[in-house]
């Protein structure tokens, strides 16, 4: 919990800064040029529902801040380069996701600012304020109610729908499309992307009768192995490719309010799956996982029916599938999945 003693000066500073901004905005009120003529005004105001209520966006946002995953990909795919996005630094990935960089370069635009967080994981509200966003989009994130309240003071904020960090990538695409007044374009992107997935699913009919469980690498000292639930985008993408969730994962998903659950190493055999998919921070980490006798004796690992993503580009592509990352990564991931279930 943040202490109010700490947050009060920050909040006051934020209010003062907001007031100053409002004043300068009044003083230099030049009408914003309407560039995107393809956006009918009828799209706004748009009201979006999320876990903390409804958020109304009254006019086409020009300056967009995205928090969490996926939303930034959808925004640039729709031609809107955000002014601030979350940091995607993880192992082999430095700050920006590669497909995001490609798209921004294709638009001949500048890369957005990376939102910084404190060591305790707190957002830098003053930085977000200084970016002067018209809207803050966090449909695939874990923003808390408290954070949501503070972000709303800066700009209309769209939080996640039901489960923190557990969002259907297709819903995120539609939400961002609606928020930017480009719902039809978003729908078109979605159809294109889903056509790619359907083509891969059709090319691999053997996927359809295979069950899978998706998790992350076990590390020494952990009595359990973690698995993603069906609310998670990773699961959704694999299900779209034809795979069936393991019965145990489906059962856990019914009661879980998180996007992941743990299964004790002692009970790993309760997860009956033909395929194990996961990500790890490195090959060494995966090797150490395979050296654990309880893990090694578990069906999919024992039968060598496992696909572990050990580079973080793929880890990200699979963790936050989007209209950009799916075209980028599908050709890399699908052959590995096919190889993993082949005898």
């Amino acid at each position: 919990m943040r202490s109010t003693a700490l947050s009060r000066p920050v909040r006051i500073a934020a209010i003062l800064a907001a007031a100053a901004l409002a004043l300068t905005a009044c003083a230099t009120s030049t009408p914003a040029p309407v560039e995107s003529g393809n956006v009918p005004d009828s799209a706004f105001p748009v009201t979006l529902e999320h876990i903390y209520g409804e958020t109304t966006i009254s006019e086409k946002p020009e300056r967009v801040v995205t928090i969490g995953w996926n939303a930034q990909d959808v925004a640039v795919a729709l031609g809107v380069v955000p002014v601030g996005i979350s940091d995607f630094t993880w192992g082999t990935v430095d700050k920006y996701l590669p497909w995001f960089v490609d798209e921004v370069e294709a638009l001949d635009a500048e890369l957005p600012e990376i939102l910084t967080t404190s060591d305790a994981g707190e957002y830098d509200y003053e930085q977000i304020l200084s970016l002067e966003p018209d809207v803050i989009l966090a449909p695939h994130s874990g923003v808390t109610e408290e954070e949501y309240a503070r972000l709303t003071e800066i700009a209309p904020t769209v939080a996640y729908d039901k489960v923190a960090w557990g969002a259907d990538w297709q819903d995120v695409t539609r939400t961002v499309g609606a928020a930017l007044g480009q719902a039809d374009e978003a729908e078109a992107l979605l159809s294109e992307t889903n056509a790619l997935i359907d083509a891969q699913a059709a090319a691999h009919p053997e996927f359809a009768d295979k069950t899978f469980a998706y998790g992350w690498a076990w590390v020494e000292g952990d009595p359990a192995l973690g698995f993603y639930m069906q609310s998670d985008a990773r699961e959704i993408l694999l299900e779209q490719l034809g795979f069936q969730p393991s019965a145990k994962i489906a059962e856990l998903s019914k009661t879980s309010t998180e996007f992941y659950e743990y299964v004790s190493l002692e009970e790993l055999d309760s997860v009956d799956a033909d395929l194990y998919v996961g990500w790890s921070n490195s090959q060494e980490e995966y090797d150490a996982m395979l050296a654990n006798p309880l893990v090694a004796s578990w069906g999919p690992i024992a039968d060598d029916n496992a696909y572990m993503m050990t580079t973080q580009e793929l880890g990200w592509a699979s963790s936050q599938p989007s209209v950009l990352s799916i075209p980028y990564s599908l050709d890399l991931i699908v052959p590995e999945l096919a190889a993993a279930i082949a005898d």
């Binding site: 060591d119 590390v219 004790s264 921070n281 309880l294």
Partner: protein
């Protein structure tokens, strides 16, 4: 102070020891019987003795037995280490952390992961051990400088200061490289589960030497408790005892931390609680701490398994949850006992 003849007190302490040993045996049996997997006692026994590669056999030998054995070595190491530190610093509330042992081990693991990219337990266990050793020696040297020679107060100050510095640097390194530290996240919490026996066997000799050393010096610690000068006049070799104490503490705390990660509170609480029963005689406090700490650790581990069967509450959390109320209860019943 209770008024009992030394003979009566010894008889009482011996009887208490038997009760503790029986309790330890009981909790060991529970630790093998109880776990996330619902297994009948007959299945556990079959798993224990029939080497057929069945799931039951694997669960017993790769999950239940290792964590029980780790508790049986790490518990006594932590308990005795705490008893030695409390006697050594003449501070009834001292714990192994006060000499910087935990900070040294954690810092060395941080270096191993952050600078050398070592993320396997078999690799960083030696860093943890070396870190504990180096920092304890550094604290000792720092505490020994100056005109008054080595005093418990100076050692404590040096330990706390070095711990603070190392803790700060370690945090800075960790925050700059979070992914690398993902692999050691469970080491940093302190847990008996999900660890391999290989690591334990590599460290066990050090723990055993530390325990033997502690028992050997327990009589001298009794004499030193009277004060340095009185101790000397009674023939105690104060400096030799000090060096041996530090050596034992380093072996025990370094070994325990290397195997199970930093587990706080056991080293503080167990000898403190034990003293209420045994009185101030280190020859009883040390063996009592050994057994009582193993019991506390294993009970905490078993309760953690029952409370949260799939993910389990880590033993590092449970020791405080279970130990703290006991300590408060004892403190309310009696005046805090000095040394």
């Amino acid at each position: 102070m209770r008024t009992r003849t030394p003979a009566a007190r010894n008889a009482l302490n011996a009887a208490g020891m038997l009760v503790l040993l029986a309790a330890l045996l009981g909790i060991c049996v529970l630790s093998v019987l109880v776990g996330a997997r619902d297994m009948a006692a007959s299945d556990v026994i079959k798993g224990l003795f029939v080497f057929d590669g069945s799931t039951e056999h694997l669960v017993v030998w790769e999950s239940r037995v290792p964590r029980t054995l780790i508790g049986l070595f790490v518990g006594p190491a932590l308990g005795v280490c705490g008893a030695l530190i409390q006697a050594f610093t003449r501070n009834p509330l001292a714990d192994p952390g006060i000499l910087g042992v935990n900070a040294g081990a954690s810092f060395a693991v941080t270096i191993a992961v952050g600078l050398f990219g070592i993320t396997s337990a078999s690799g960083y266990v030696w860093f943890a051990f070396a870190g504990a050793l180096i920092v304890t020696v550094a604290v000792y040297v720092l505490g020994a400088t100056g005109r008054s020679g080595i005093t418990p107060e100076k050692l404590t100050l040096a330990g706390v200061a070095i711990s603070a510095v190392l803790g700060g640097v370690a945090s800075a390194i960790t925050l700059k490289n979070r992914e690398a530290f993902d692999s050691v996240r469970f080491w940093a919490v302190g847990s008996l589960a999900g660890r391999s026996l290989e690591t334990l066997w590599a460290i066990v000799p050090f723990i055993v030497v530390g325990l033997v050393l502690a028992i050997a010096i327990s009589r001298s610690l009794n004499v030193i408790a009277l004060g340095d000068d009185l101790g000397r006049s009674l023939g105690a070799r104060v400096d030799v005892t000090r060096v041996l104490t530090i050596a034992s503490v380093t072996l025990l705390a370094g070994g325990a931390t290397a195997v199970a990660g930093p587990i706080a509170f056991v080293g503080l609480m167990v000898p403190h609680a034990v003293r209420w029963f045994t009185g101030p005689d280190q020859r009883w406090i040390i063996p009592y701490s050994m057994v009582a700490a193993a019991i506390l650790l294993l009970v905490s581990d078993v309760v953690g398994r029952i409370l949260l069967p799939s993910a389990e509450l880590r033993v590092g959390i449970m020791t405080a949850v279970i130990g703290a109320p006991i300590l408060i209860l004892l403190a309310r019943r009696r005046m805090a006992h000095g040394l």
